[in-house]
Amino acid sequence: MSVEEPLVMARGLKKRFGDFEAVAGIDVEVHRGEVFGFLGPNGAGKSSTMRMIGCVSPVTDGRLRVLGMNPREEGPAIRARLGVVPQEDNLDTELSVWDNLAIYGRYFGLPRPLIKQRAAELLEFVQLTDRKADRVEPLSGGMKRRLTIARGLMNQPELLLLDEPTTGLDPQARHLLWERLYQLKLRGVTLVLTTHYMDEAEQLCDRLVIMDRGHIVAEGSPRQLIDQHSTKEVVELRFATLDERESALPRLADLSGRVEPVGERVLVYTDDGDATLAAVARDGVEPASVLVRRATLEDVFLILTGRTLDD
């Protein structure tokens, strides 16, 4: 074949647990070399989707092909070429940092000299060389996540799956992790990640889908999604009380095609923030504070679903 099949191709993909439909029929294509994201709040069906792509969770319905193979029949052969960084750490805490990589290499059937070489390179890559003889438990959250990434790279996967890679990490650890992931992208590794952080999706993803309640509600590059679904700018007005917000809402709605109340705030979507701000002042609306900013993926999610990502 001259045109390469997508690394991941899903059509009408569904996952049910009893009566609960976690993934309600989604279409996804991930191509070689791209960083693809699933953005959505907790419970949107992102992890269930990842577990199906990772060939550990059986598909309930629909079609799924990973690396051109069917997970139902060729799970072990697919998993041999995947790297997985799960949401919940599952490092082997009975083993040292080094042994975690070494035994993982053995699970993939790699010969010992190759394991030695790769484990050393990967520890260098995730900046944990000086911790190689340590036990896993005392490592910080960021170090554990980096070790898990190194572990997921032991088999030199064509596709690396990362489920909420920076959840629970402090800002510094997050940035270090993003930088390492970017290095992987430069090396040509295809990355698929889930996140409920819009900044993570914007920073890392070439293309993403926004998921909500098991459905895909939008798809595109971060830029495209913002251009398509949101205005350029957002004026955030924060009010002292919910009552004040309520009384200001009708007047604000007249100013702009779209306003979204979120807690004590009202977000006014506009292509010219400063002009809108001036109009707000003319109308006699008196918020406690104001902020004009560029629209983000968070706004896209809010506009499409009426809810915020951390709901």
């Binding site: 099949e5 550990v56 995947l82 599952n90 070494a102 699970y107 059937g109 088999n155």
Partner: protein, 266 residues
């Protein structure tokens, strides 16, 4: 697909990889297990075999024509195999599933849940092979092994351990917490430990209760070990005893493969 993509090796023996993990952990932690797996059976041997045994032999001239030490050596061997296998299969499985979750890391590789399960059970058998061999050597130094056929007691304990491990590991995988584990030990492991012909012949039990001992899988393990260490093999019985344990292992295996798959790949 590009033709140049070569599939990496799947590892021809996924089960062996899972066992290798256990060996790697054991090679780091074996010192911590010396007491439970080696020393405590030896203490039993000294206390019961020599202490209690002295009294028994003095008063009644031994048990079933054997001195008491020779009587309980196979009992202790089989019973400790059961005990170690049960403990490993309860808490060891909960650790992999929930506490440390490393089983979940294993099934993200070419290993399948069935391999993880099999690795656990097979390793339990290997570990018992080691501890039983050590125990047999020590017991023979004390004069508690009466025949070279005694070496056959080692595979007997392996079979006993695998039968218990196969069932219990499978059951552990269905549990959300370890709150029932102490009950399993108190209500199952302890009674079996005591009433399976381990420390006294089951014929000592009241007539109506005695047949119940045949319901204990450990009874068959103890009987197997005893006929070998005392050098009085009854081959037909040996075949039946082994068949009971093999059947238990086979049923457990089927169940365990399913419960691990359900738990790790849902």
């Amino acid at each position: 697909m590009t033709e140049t993509t070569t599939a990496p090796s799947l590892g021809r023996w996924p089960l062996a990889r899972a066992v290798e993990r256990e060996m790697r952990v054991f090679s780091k932690l074996w010192r911590g297990t010396i007491f439970s797996t080696f020393l405590s059976p030896v203490l039993f041997l000294v206390a019961m075999g020599i202490g209690v045994g002295g009294l028994v032999d003095e008063r009644s001239g031994g048990v079933q024509g054997l001195n008491y030490l020779a009587f309980i050596v196979p009992g202790i061997m089989a019973a400790s195999a059961m005990q170690t296998a049960s403990g490993d299969s309860l808490w060891g499985v909960m650790a992999g599933m929930k506490w440390m979750r490393f089983f979940h890391g294993m099934v993200a590789t070419p290993l399948r849940p069935a391999d993880v399960y099999a690795g656990k059970v097979v390793w339990t058998g290997m570990r018992i092979a080691l501890s039983s061999t050590v125990f047999l050597c020590i017991a023979s130094l004390f004069g508690g092994v009466l025949s070279p056929l005694g070496v056959l007691a080692v595979p007997s304990t392996i079979l006993t351990a695998v039968a218990f491990s196969a069932v219990i590991a499978g059951w552990s995988a269905t549990q959300e917490t370890d709150k029932n584990f102490a009950i399993v030990f108190r209500m199952m492991v302890m009674p079996l430990f005591l009433f399976s012909g381990t420390f006294f012949p089951v014929s000592q039990l009241p007539d109506r209760i005695e047949p119940l001992s045949r319901l204990s899988p450990l009874y068959y393990g103890v009987d197997l070990c005893r006929m070998f260490t005392t050098g009085e093999p009854r081959w037909a019985d040996a075949a039946i005893n082994a068949a009971v344990l093999v059947a238990m292992a086979a049923v457990g295996w089927r169940f365990g493969t399913r419960s691990f798959t359900k738990r790790l790949a849902s």
